[in-house]
């Protein structure tokens, strides 16, 4: 009787456990060799742990490292090309957690997958460990994750003890005007990076990853430092100057009067992968130039 009960409990536990995790995620026993990663962050993670050669396809937004240029691009978050993806016969597909439709299709095709989601900065290293374990490279994943954590700690230590300026991190604005401003709110990996780099986020009370900001909000929040991020090609100096000058319309903002509007270009600010260490260091150098002399 007792054994029957315990085996029943065990069965229930197994069912619950089985339901808690998508079946396909637990079914990957052998180390995958043909990996598709639709997520730029995980693509970079795979390269960082030395598994880049196992990639057979990436997402449309993948730019880094250079090697991805030669791989087939299979769409992005909203438009994955399922047909091309299936034709590549992958043995592991890394998808966004929110790609429900794609995940259903892969499940039907019995292709193992691994779903990615990221909320905060510590998730970068955690994702790296989990991904390493999933592809049978647990120790490589562990050491790459450890490197990231160590480098982030080093940046943090470098700016420790310095006064923390109230900063605003903008990741989108209409060019040539103070309109359509989108800033990082008090949630997400950009917010975490900003605070790690020795700043106080002026929007930390708004727990959203993206905050559309009006000019009134900028004036009212009075940031000491404004950092604007741009992606893609670096702008020529005259355009950078012109974009910086746009801010002169709000002269009471401390960042404007103290000439602390900084424009940074780089994909590392949009991809929460191994290059977050680079992003953290660039932010820290921008906020605390003295700490790096």
């Amino acid at each position: 009787m007792r054994t029957a009960l315990s085996s029943l409990l065990l069965a229930v536990a197994l069912i619950i456990a089985g339901e808690a995790r998508p079946a396909s995620q637990s079914s990957g026993d052998t180390a995958p060799r043909r990996i598709v990663s639709l997520v730029p962050a995980t693509t970079e993670m795979l390269y960082a742990m030395g598994a880049g050669s196992r990639l057979i396809g990436v997402g449309s937004y993948d730019r880094f490292p250079r090697d991805v240029e030669s791989l087939p691009k299979l769409g992005g978050l909203l438009d994955p090309n399922t047909e091309q993806l299936l034709a590549l016969r992958p043995d592991l597909v890394i998808v966004y957690d929110t790609q429900a439709e794609l995940r259903q299709r892969l499940e039907r095709a019995r292709i193992p997958m691994w779903s990615y989601s990221l909320k905060a900065l510590p998730d970068v290293a955690a994702t790296m460990r989990a991904l390493g374990a999933r592809i049978g490279m647990a120790s490589a994943g562990e050491s790459a994750a450890g490197r990231i954590e160590a480098q982030l700690r080093a940046v943090q230590a470098r700016v420790a003890g310095r006064p923390r300026p109230r900063s605003l991190l903008i990741f989108g604005r209409e060019s040539g005007a103070l309109r359509g401003i989108n800033a990082s709110g008090g949630y997400g990996f950009l917010h975490d990076l900003l605070e790690l780099a020795g700043a106080v986020d002026v929007l930390s009370d708004i727990k959203q990853a993206a905050v559309p900001m009006s000019s009134e909000m900028v004036l009212a929040r009075r940031p000491d430092v404004i950092i604007e991020l741009h992606y893609g090609e670096a702008w020529p100096a005259n355009r950078l100057d012109a974009e910086r000058r746009v801010w002169s319309g709000l002269p009471s903002v401390p960042a404007v009067r103290n000439n602390r509007i900084h424009l940074l270009t780089g994909d590392e600010f949009v991809v929460p992968g191994p290059r977050v260490t680079l992003a953290a260091e660039r932010l820290a150098r921008t906020i605390h130039p003295d700490a790096f002399r």
Partner: protein, 358 residues
Amino acid sequence: MSRQATSPWCLWPEHADTVTTAPRGSSVRTRLLWTVAGFGALALAAITLAPLAGSTDVSLARVFDRTLPYADNIDAQIFFVARLPRVLAAALVGSSLALSGVVFQALLRNPLASPDTLGVSAGASLGAMLAITFGADVSLFGLSAIPMASFTGSLGALTIVYGLSVVRRSGTSTMVLLLGGVTLTALLSAIMGFVQFMADFTQTFRNVRWMMGSLDVASYSPIVAALVPTAVAWGGFATLPRVLDLISLGAESAAARGVDVRRAERVALVSASLATGAAVSLAGPVAFVGIVVPHLVRLVVGADHRLVLPGSALFGAALLIACDLVARTAMAPLELPVGIVTALVGGPVFLWLLFRRT
């Protein structure tokens, strides 16, 4: 103030005779006075009160404190940079969209017509989207790339629609123009979809945000720039009231009364399109104002365009200023896109008015 129709569809002058037998000069003048005074008071109240409220507390004493240098005066900057241009932009956009709505509804003889019916609004949106996606960075006279591209887009759409209105035969006029406009809108929307498809993640985000509309212009130069085409359009509108009364009854009867219908239609088309293009390039496609304000005003003043046009201009301004005030304060410190508020606030009001009378 008289209302002619008793049918549920009283929003629309179905009953032709009542319009043409409108009261004589003197009584119209009195009603015009009342219309302008009533809606003007609303608009004036909105313009004066709206800048006083916002997501932050501002002290008026500090705003006008001359002893403080402007560069140090946050309250003054919030008032003069963040709020006042915004309220003025709302007034301009609201009145332009409302006037265009009146004109398009009369011109197309269709109560569902609005500033976006003929594709001008879609042309403006496509222009803006192209500028965002391909990162245009030209600027001229303090005007940035997006409003310029947007206005250019609206002119492109206007050219196509105008071409349609010229080549079509008279007689089938409005139907062809309407179908042509709807098709053009669909075509432009498809191109917008393609541009979105080509855009990267952050650009898509900005495109979507732009499409929700925003009046936070943060300086006066975009407003001044938009005033130029708007003034031309208003000049056109000023010639239209009587003609629109006749056209909305039917082109044939208008022609029988000595109206040069084709010429009048073109003036109406170009003016309304210019006003729409200027409004959309300034604030993005603000939904709902252009279709609903004319109907609400007609409910109050009747169908005479001598009253509907000025009434709509003033009420459109007041309504959009009020909606923007809600957008700025309802979720403070966050701001809602104004297009969402216009639809959420105005839609139910309109439905209530519509069904209350049935």
